[in-house]
Structure formats: C-alpha cells, structure tokens
Amino acid sequence: MRPRSGLLIQDTIQSGSRRTFNMAETHSLQDMRQQAAIASKVFVQRDYSTGTTCQFQMKFLPELENRIDKQQFEETVRTLNNLYAEAEKIGGKSYLEGCLACLTAYTIFLCMETHYEKVLKKIAKYIQEQNDKIYAPRGMLITDPIERGLRVIEITIYEDRIGGNGR
C-alpha cells in the first residue's frame, strides 16, 4: 500500500456560522490530523433504550482497549450523555422558551439562541478539552457528534508515529 498524496477537504468552522471554535487549539489538532496517518475509526453508537433522546452507548469498544482506560472513556461518554440530556430536558424552562417563541411567531430566534444551541456550545468546548487533555496525547481524536447528525461519536485513532503499528 503506497501512500498517495492528494487533496482533502476539511471542514473548517468559521465564526459567524453556527459553531465557533478556539482557533489556536484547533491548529494543534489540525497539525496532528495532517501529520499522523489514520489507523482506524471507531463509532460509538446511540443508545435508544430510553426513547429518542440523544444518549450514547457506554459499551467499551475493543479497538480502544490498549489506548485508553475504560473508566476514562466511560466518564467521557457519561458526561456527554448528561449534557445532551440537559439540552433536551422538558421542563419549566423549555416550556417558557417554547411559549415565548410561539407568541413572537418564532421571530425571537433571530436575536436569541435556543437553549439547545447553548448546550451544544458547552458540548463542543468539553470535547475540545477532552481531546486536548486526554485523547490527543494518546493518539486519538473525538469528533463532535453533531457533525455526524448526532448518530455516532466518531473516534479517530491515529497511527503511532514511533511504532507505525497501524491497524
């Protein structure tokens, strides 16, 4: 298998669009993406046992076994699940937001962010943090689930630069 050069279009999220990113930190992650080779990708699937709310399975995937602690991984997934549960919570606050929006014929969202969007920003920050502190040093990167339609948490495993022990 010879390496081949080519072009890859990467998604860059710019300010002014829906999500903002810390550009400095992204740079170091992008460096990693550019220099390291992708060994494999694993996908943490959705857990539908509680219904259509966004929850991910805590099952520890075999490919991650020698890369990261089970507890660490479960902690990450658990925190993400809690954050999504917070975003989708149906309670007094969401009713108030819904009614207020309805009364203004939803024009209020031209100037205000929805609660869900606020939590999504929190989630993006948390994932960034986890990537920086825990996953990137171990040669992995978590992709924000919103970029995959909230279907999966995609974890990209990069080759060890030293060992080159690929798949």
Binding site: L7, I9, K41, T114, Y116, R148
Partner: protein, 388 residues
C-alpha cells in the same frame, strides 16, 4: 493549488449536500425541489387577505370596530411566519454516513449475519432495540447508509432520511419532521382561524350591506367578497380537517407516517412507546419541547487543505486531476442490491476521498474550473477501479 477557492467565492457545505433539496440565500433556506404548490399556497393566502383588507376592512372598521382589521393583520402575520418557517427550515435531515462509518456498519452487519450460503439472499438489515418495553425495529437505509433512528423515515421526494418523519407536504414545499412539526401544526391552526375569521366577517359584511342596499347590489359593489367566500369555503373543510387530525396525532404523540402504517394501532399488543399516556404531556412535548438544531451545517465553509501522505493503495486515475475531493458517502441509488453496495463501499475502507458529482442541477454551480470527471449522471459516483 486550490481548484475550489477561486476569487472571492466561498464554497459552502450546502452546495455539496446530497439529496434533492434546493437551497436559497446562500444556504439559509432549504426546500424541496417542486415548489409550484407552495407558490399556490402563498398566492391563495396573500391574495385572499389582500382582498379582505381591500373590500371588507374599510367598511367593517367604520361600521363595526377598528379592531377587526388589526386582529386580521396579526393573524395574517402569524400564518405567514409559521408557513415560511415550516417551508424554509431543515425538517431534521440526517446527514448521510461518511464512507468510514458506512464501512464500519457494513462490517458489523456481516459479523451479525455470519456466512450466507451462495445464492441465498442475505437477511434483511434490521436492528432491534427495546424502548419502554416495546421492541422497535430499526431499518437500514441503503441510500443514506445508516440504520435509521426510531421514528425516522426516508423521504423519496427529497431523498433524505428525516427524523421523526411526519409527511412530505407539497403545500409547504418541504418535509415535515422533527424540527418543523410544531411550525407546521401552528400554521394549520392559525390558517384555520384566519379562514374562519375571514369567512365569518365576509358573511357579516354582506349581511350588513344588504340591509342597506340589497343583496345583489352588495355583490356588485364588492366582487372580491364572492371570491373570498369561495376560497374560504373550500379551504375551511380541508384545513380545519387537517388541523383536527394533527391535534389528534399530537395528543397521542404519533406521526402521520406511523398512523398511516398502523405502527401503533394496537394489534399484537403493540403500543406507542413514545407516548406519555397523558394528553397534556404529549402536547407539551411536541409543541413546547426543545428546539433541536440542524445536523446539516449548511453555511459552514468547505476548505481545502493539503494532506500529508495517507496510506492508501495506489490509485492511478485519481492522480491526474487536481480535483476537489471530499470524504463523503457516495450516492448509490435505491435500486442497488446490498451486494452492489458492499462492493462499491469496500474500496473506500481507508477513509479515502472520492470524487462526488454533487447534484448540481438545482444549485448554483461552484466556480471551480475543472469539474470532476465522472460528473453527471449522479447515479453512482464510485469508480470501481479498485483504486484506493
């Protein structure tokens, strides 16, 4: 050496999205392709209201109350806002699986199915999940390469999987799904109210005027009234009926799709696992629940970056053109069997990039000079030359 970023034009993600949607205002607006009936809806609403304000309102404001036109304006504004919101927003489209994810799922399916003897059809791709003590079957979508979440369905007209798919409505020119159902419901409700309102005051107006000048003369003076009454009469039956039907669905937390298919009709003791068994709770969840964000980042920019060598099998053909390539799921039409799908996905195992002849016919063509070689027809995009 960018083939994409020519001069000031920025390539945005909506331009490369698969599916049969049309986009306007640089990705801010998302609709289905056929918009004729939507224009008719707009015309009927705006036209009828214009006639009402021209013929009825001057007379009624003076003889009855100035609040009548004011309330009509508020209702009209609400109808238009909810209609446009329903038509222009993303109904909850699920982005298609990228090649890596599609391959991963394929491998899981194969592992689950085991060895199928040659000549036999492989078993249907279904995953069972248990939701609130009910077994729900998740079907595999061959177009989007994903197992559809519960309540999602693939819209053939828009060629997308939509979450909590209700139906595709030609009158609003869009699918109705998780993200825009409440706007759709409020649109039908407010339109019913507006229709009843206009109809009532048309009658009142004709009666009041007839007392003064006689019935025939009234009709001659205000010909618009006749037109309004006719439109409102026919609209009433359909829209009010539709509102009633959707009120029933909302109270049960069901979708039109589930109702038509009889998914929770009670046969075999199957019950709706999503219902809270309480009408108020169901209504609150559907109408006042959280506002889910769009999973399609339509206005995000697509940027090219030079990539360090990736360990992928040598590819002769792809090297020729400095084409814009993107890791995205190839479009494979529904007629393909699972085997075709498998053979075309397998080469992309390494997360390789592939040329995608995006369905450009309905979008602004990006200003990139060298178009990808296998441009249209956009049936299959994969080059089965074992390259990657």
């Amino acid at each position: 050496m960018s083939a994409v970023m020519v001069s000031k034009k920025v390539l945005r993600k909506w331009e490369k999205l698969p599916g049969k949607n049309t986009f306007c205002c640089d990705g801010r607006v998302m609709m289905a392709r056929q918009k004729g009936v939507f224009y008719l809806t707009l015309f009927l609403i705006v036209g009828t209201c214009a006639l009402f304000f021209a013929f009825e309102c001057p007379y009624l404001a003076v003889h009855l109350s100035p609040a009548i036109p004011v309330f009509a304006i508020i209702l009209f504004f609400f109808v238009m806002a909810t209609l446009l919101r329903t038509s222009f927003s993303d109904p909850g489209v699920l982005p298609r699986a990228l090649p890596d994810e599609a391959t991963f799922i394929e491998m899981e399916i194969e592992a689950a199915n085991g060895n199928v003897p040659a000549g036999q059809r492989p078993p249907p791709r279904i995953r069972n999940v248990q939701i609130n003590n009910q077994i729900v079957k998740l079907k595999y979508c061959y177009t989007c390469k994903i197992f559809r979440p519960p309540r999602a369905s693939h819209c053939g007209i828009c060629d997308n999987c939509v979450e909590r798919f209700d139906h595709h409505c030609p009158w609003v020119g869009n699918c109705v799904g998780k993200r825009n159902y409440r706007y759709f419901y409020l649109f039908t409700l407010s339109l019913s109210l507006l229709t009843i309102y206009i109809f009532t005051f048309d009658i009142v107006h004709v009666v009041l005027r007839s007392v003064d000048s006689g019935f025939v003369n009234t009709l001659k003076d205000t010909p618009g009234t006749v037109l309004e009454v006719v439109v409102c009469f026919f609209t009433l039956w359909s829209v009010v009926g539709l509102t009633g039907f959707h009120t029933y669905l909302v109270s049960l937390n069901q979708t039109t799709n589930e109702d038509i298919k009889g998914s929770w009709s009670g046969k075999n003791r199957v019950q709706n696992p999503y219902s809270h068994r309480n009408i108020m709770k169901n209504c609150c969840e559907v109408l006042c629940g959280p506002m889910h964000p769009s999973a399609l980042d339509r206005r995000g920019e697509l940027v090219e970056l030079p990539l360090a060598p990736v360990p992928i099998p040598a590819s002769k053909n792809n090297k020729e053109n400095p084409q814009t390539t993107k890791a995205t799921a190839p479009l494979i039409s529904n007629e393909h069997t699972p085997d075709d799908v498998k053979s075309s996905i397998a080469p992309e195992l390494e997360g390789g990039v592939e040329v995608m002849p995006s369905p450009l016919e309905n979008k602004h063509p990006p200003s990139e000079p060298p178009t990808p070689p296998p441009a249209e027809p956009a049936e299959t995009t994969v080059e089965p030359d074992g390259a990657f």
